[in-house]
Amino acid sequence: MTRKTLVAALVLAAASRCAPPQPTTTTGTAAEAGSVLAVTHARIYPVSGPAIADGTLLVRDGKILELGAGIAVPEGSGVLDAKGKSLIPGLVESHSHMGFKWLNVPAMGRNNNEFRNPVNAEVRAIDGLTSHDAAFAFSLAAGVTTMNITTGSRVPNSGQAVVVKLRGGSIEDMFFAEGGMKFAIRVADERPGFPRTTEAVRELLASELRSARAYLDAQAAAASSGAAPPPRDLKLEAFGKLLEKKMVVGVHAHSEEDMRHAIALKKEFDLDLYIHHAQGTISLVDELLEANVPISFGPILPFMNEEDPVLLGPIRLAERGGKASFHQDHPDGHQYFLRHDAALFVRKRMPEDQALRALTVNPAALFHLEDRIGTLEPGKDADFVLLDGPPLDYESLVTHVFIDGRLVFDRARGFNVFGERVPEGW
């Protein structure tokens, strides 16, 4: 039986923007339709179930074909021997501004807060992003494969987020799903016409939602009576999607008080809503569970100390069945630390499986993508990460990253699909 090595099997997949450093044969590779890539002898953490000590993962056409112990490797498969390595689902960053604040150069970095109005629901992140942000390359090295990129939090509503996969190429190439609406319970900018208290922010958002309700009602009435519909209003249309639960809303809220405003909006309008940052969680576990509001907690490292009592919030929420995710909020936080955040929570006695869920399937579920990504199961997207040690050990490094079955990062070969130089070590 001829088994191709990883090199033959995978590097070619890196089609998008830059050539791999040492191109090899183009025949019989897993990147070809129908061919199989087998990752063997890995310690696999499917997240949907218990870890598999000596596991094989089979990939075909960008999807997971099969995984488990003692699985036969089909003849002609490309094989990557992952002995001594851990294999986890690609990490999902639920809250980022990557591609807005390009290289932190001020002239390039003002793209994530639209200040034209306090409410800018018609604005879409995908229209303002650049894929030429070196941080995308860093993020692959940190094991992130999917990322929700949101507009900013300095206005009550800065627009709509976008979920991308870090597969290289343009932002369009990276598009994966809508990321939902952004609300910010915050007073960050005191320009004329903008609310001056968080209560006023909540009331402004509520009043726009009521206007959207009236807009939907007027459309329905026009449709049933055959009259001319009201003039199209993209802002109210977008808020109308929130009322119809066709779009999720992610709310920026840090304190307990601000989080209460978010929960109240969820209850009043029956929204599909989650809260990001959520530092006040420790005081609101009952309320979050009762209102079925998931949280995305962060940024954590390097800003928070491991002894900080607010860390207990996500732990208490998760142990009672609530959903917590972690995020790094680039460029406020550093993508490198997303996995370390989870380790920090394990130190604080969160079970390892819950901490891994908070990096993978829980953030995927915020955007209703949990059937496609976030765990390793047959039929799901082949987005996975190999590490040279336990996944939640600070001293482990990501060695390989695959998205849709294609190799996008290979540390040893110095290959990154974004083609940017990642300084050694990240």
Binding site: N104, A135, L301, H334, Y336, D393, Y394, P423, G425
Partner: protein
């Protein structure tokens, strides 16, 4: 000597009163990492009156000593964060004067009496007057309890991006260094107007080092040139691009204070952080440079995490521990009191469950000047 602020004096008094116990205390049965490179299995450390009396393998506790069980625990010196803004609130920059060599960071030092860093095993830190003024004044070495170990320990300088961002003029790096040179020349001939002459004079007399916060490889070499020109002792601070010029830094015998976790370009950091890598500490160490680790922060992750990261990225365990204990103390000029577990040194001690500077290490007890300040 400048008198301590009233609040500080009170704190210092409280500490000395409670640490002046005459009874010896023995920590028995611990794996002792002394910070000098030695590891003692089943070690016994005895301290009294806030000072270490003895460190030995398998020794019995002395007569009359109270004991702390160190079985299954590691004992290290208290960790030292070699550059932070601990105890500083608000702006740490003199916005009115790009040159502010006469400032003393202790004037605005108001430590929190319940620091999370202390719980993480940090017992001392250098408090910097910030990295924005071309000359920012004196920094100090303090305990996390607020006690001052060494005031006026260094003179802070910065001529990189952070300083350029903060002031309208000078507008260039070369302009900043030109102004710095003019200022040092005036101080040397004693014709400097204002209160900065004393601080620069101490640098010229090699009583204290010049702490230069610079990041690009070329700025680092400029700092080394400048220090040679004035025969000053130099400590490089931040030095994200240090690994690219590690051999020149080593040849000049200049120590560095770095933060492996600091954010470089591409992930939100300063533009001049383009060369940053968490391998910086390891690369500098391999070249023979003395490395101390720091957070550059006021809170958040402790310097213990910097040690873990440096270790994860190639710094050997022994060097990583030294970089947060012995070498940090020596770079900061307090090696006579802090940084190692040796008789006569301050009883700043940490008991750990789990290998120190690993992902899963957790503090069990933190002792400062012989007084238990945190116990889990």
């Amino acid at each position: 000597m400048k008198p301590l602020l009233p609040a500080l004096a009170l704190l210092a008094a409280a500490v000395s009163a409670s640490s002046a116990q005459e009874q010896p205390v023995a920590i028995v049965g611990a794996t002792i990492l002394t910070g000098t490179g030695e590891t003692l299995q089943d070690g016994t450390l005895v301290f009294r009156g806030g000072k270490i009396e003895s460190v030995a393998t398998g020794a019995a506790a002395p007569e009359g000593a109270s004991t702390i069980d160190g079985k299954d625990l590691f004992l290290t010196p208290g960790l030292i964060d070699a550059y932070s803004e601990f105890g500083i609130e608000g702006d740490n920059t003199d916005r009115a004067n790009v040159l502010a060599p006469g400032r003393d960071v202790l004037v605005s030092f108001q430590p929190d009496d319940d620091s999370l860093w202390l719980r993480s095993g940090v017992t001392a830190t250098y408090v910097s007057p910030g990295g924005r003024n071309l000359l920012g004044g004196y920094g100090a070495v303090v305990k996390l309890t607020g006690a001052v170990v060494r005031e006026r320990a260094a003179l802070a300088a910065s001529f990189g991006e952070t300083a350029l961002d903060a002031f309208e003029v000078p507008t260039t790096r070369q302009g900043m260094v030109g102004l710095l040179r003019q200022t040092f020349v005036r101080a040397r001939e004693d014709s400097l107007v204002g209160d900065g002459g004393e601080a620069i004079g101490r640098v010229l007399a090699k009583e204290i080092p010049l702490h230069a916060l610079v990041n690009t490889p070329d700025d680092i070499l400029t700092a080394i040139r400048f220090a040679k020109e004035f025969d000053a002792r130099l400590v490089l601070v931040s030095a994200m691009g240090g690994h690219e010029v590690a051999s020149q830094i080593a040849a000049a015998s200049v120590p560095v204070i770095v933060s492996p976790s600091i954010i470089g370009i591409g992930d939100g950091g300063p533009y001049e952080g383009f060369a940053h890598t968490p391998r910086n500490a390891a690369r500098l160490h391999e070249a023979g440079v003395t490395v101390a680790l720091a957070t550059f922060a006021r809170g958040g992750r402790s310097v213990a995490l910097e040690g873990v990261m440096a270790k994860a990225h190639g710094l050997p365990m022994e060097a990583a521990l030294a970089a947060v204990t012995r070498d940090a103390a020596s770079v900061l000029g307090v090696g006579d009191r802090l940084g190692t577990l040796e008789a006569g040194k301050d009883a700043d001690l940490v008991l750990w469950k789990g290998q120190p500077l690993s992902t899963w290490a957790e503090t069990r007890r933190v002792i400062v000047d012989g007084v238990t300040r945190f116990e889990r």
